[in-house]
């Protein structure tokens, strides 16, 4: 049984269909990269998985249970954590408070404040600073730390490198091997194709709300992904 199974998922914003008839599965501990141009529906898909957006059709099964209509906080309690695009930290609260607040999920596991700070040591010196006053890289690390504090089985990372300096991106990505080693399944939305293909076991490419290519990252060429990314196959057909 797969950890996550998505079937015939369709979601939109008003009349705009953001993703249509999406179907894929994810095994425990697997890393899946979700790539696609802006507006391809990646963020909407992740938000549907996290319970932050209600799909109009389809089904989401997590660990064998149907979670399609489950509220976001209940999904977090089941082990799904989203690091949202733009971080969505609580800016008036300190970094420490941002981490501790995620204890509300009440999930037991290996991740505690101590282990999160071990994995993200860059947070130690800024624990008492307000989250709204730290750098983008530090904010991203805080957002990942907050998600880890919920002890997730599935971590959804939405554009974690967006707007960050190359050094900050390296700092954020440095934690991923430890998460993979801990057996956390990851769905990674990433614009950087090279990084996505190097990090993930499997890759899904979306175009205009639909999956146009998927397969093991090792089996896909960069040219094939690029062609799917820009819809060149459709143009050729």
């Amino acid at each position: 049984m797969s950890l996550l199974e998505v079937a015939h998922l369709t979601a939109g914003h008003g009349l705009l269909v953001a993703c249509q008839n999406i179907a894929f599965s994810l095994e425990a501990g697997e890393v899946l990269a979700l790539v696609g141009a802006n507006g391809a529906g990646k963020t909407t898909l992740l938000r549907c998985l996290a319970g932050a957006h209600r799909p109009s059709q389809g089904q989401i099964q997590f660990a064998g249970a149907d979670i399609t209509s489950l509220a976001a906080h209940r999904r977090t309690a089941q082990g799904i954590a989203l690091v949202p695009e733009g971080r969505r930290l609580f800016p008036d609260m300190t970094v420490l408070e941002n981490l501790l607040v995620a204890r509300a999920a009440k999930r037991s596991g290996d991740w505690s404040l101590a282990t999160v700070l071990d994995a993200l040591p860059q947070l130690r010196p800024i624990l008492t600073r307000r989250a709204g006053q730290i750098s983008g890289g530090q904010q991203q690390a805080t957002a990942i730390g907050r998600a880890l504090m919920t002890n997730p089985r599935l971590l959804l990372l939405d554009e974690v490198s967006l707007g960050l300096s190359p050094v900050a991106v390296e700092g954020v990505y440095a934690v991923l091997p430890r998460l993979i080693e801990a057996g956390i399944a990851i769905i990674l939305v990433e614009q950087d194709l090279r990084r996505a293909m190097a990090t993930a076991d499997r890759l899904i490419c979306m175009l205009e709300g639909q999956i146009v290519l998927q397969g093991p990252a090792a089996d896909l060429t960069r040219e094939a992904v690029t062609a799917a990314y820009f819809g060149l196959n459709r143009i050729a057909a």
Binding site: H73, T76, V101, A105, R107, T150
Partner: protein, 303 residues
Amino acid sequence: MIWINQILQGILLGGYYALIAAGLSFLFGVMRVINLAHGSLAVLAAFLLLVIDHWLGISPFVGLLLMLPAMALVGVVFQLGVLERSLRGGVLIPLLATFGVSLLLDNILFALFGANTRSFASHIGTLSYGSWAINRSIDISQLDALIFATALGLLGGMHLLLTRSQLGRMIRATAIDADAAALSGIDPRRVRVAAAAMAMMMVGIAGAALGMRSSFEPYAGGAQLIYAFEAVVIGGTGSLWGTLIGGIVLGIAQNVGATINPHLSQISGHVVFLLVLVLRMRGAGGLLGDLRRKIRRQPMAPT
């Protein structure tokens, strides 16, 4: 010496205003709702205490142990039945809904208790009139000092709860960004219910203070709402300690005005409020400034 006395009495009066404003400020901070039923709910609390006192023959201070949980329950019902539903309708619907609740409560209390004024003064012994003489010109009312200390304790306790406890962090996170709070495992609906219950317990304490320091009747809520609103606006929203400062400024303004001319007591408080309101409406901060920005963001509904 008379001015020092009036300012000191104004500070003590400010403790009561801070007490009555704390629940209004807290509810606004968490849910961005201006609860127009706030004053009527304080009067409801006073009547609840009166009924408890009448039935059980106990001191109002002991009666608080029963009244406050009852007010917490009122908060839960108020949140689930009125605020949660009306919040879905935008910014103006909660104003209308809470105004409706205020009218309903006032008239239910009038139907049940009539128009007679009530007070707990006769139930609290010498505390209602006892005072400490500082010198020949300055006396401090024991009850006013107790109410001021209660306000300090309540605001300090709330400050500690919000900054040091997990519930406090959850309340603050939900107030900042309810969607992000949900993604962190927080149930925003439950947090808002808890916050409403806490706000109503604060209203309950304010209602008890109202009944002890003066008299109340079913329609006394309007004046209490105005004092609370003025203290919140003067002190600025988002800060419980700002509410205390707002209450003290209002209290001093009223007492200083009364010293100049007894007829100026209420007016001078309102003038200070209006001055601060105008400044806040022109600036970025303030409860009404916040509301104004929200209204501007709302598209006009089709007619």
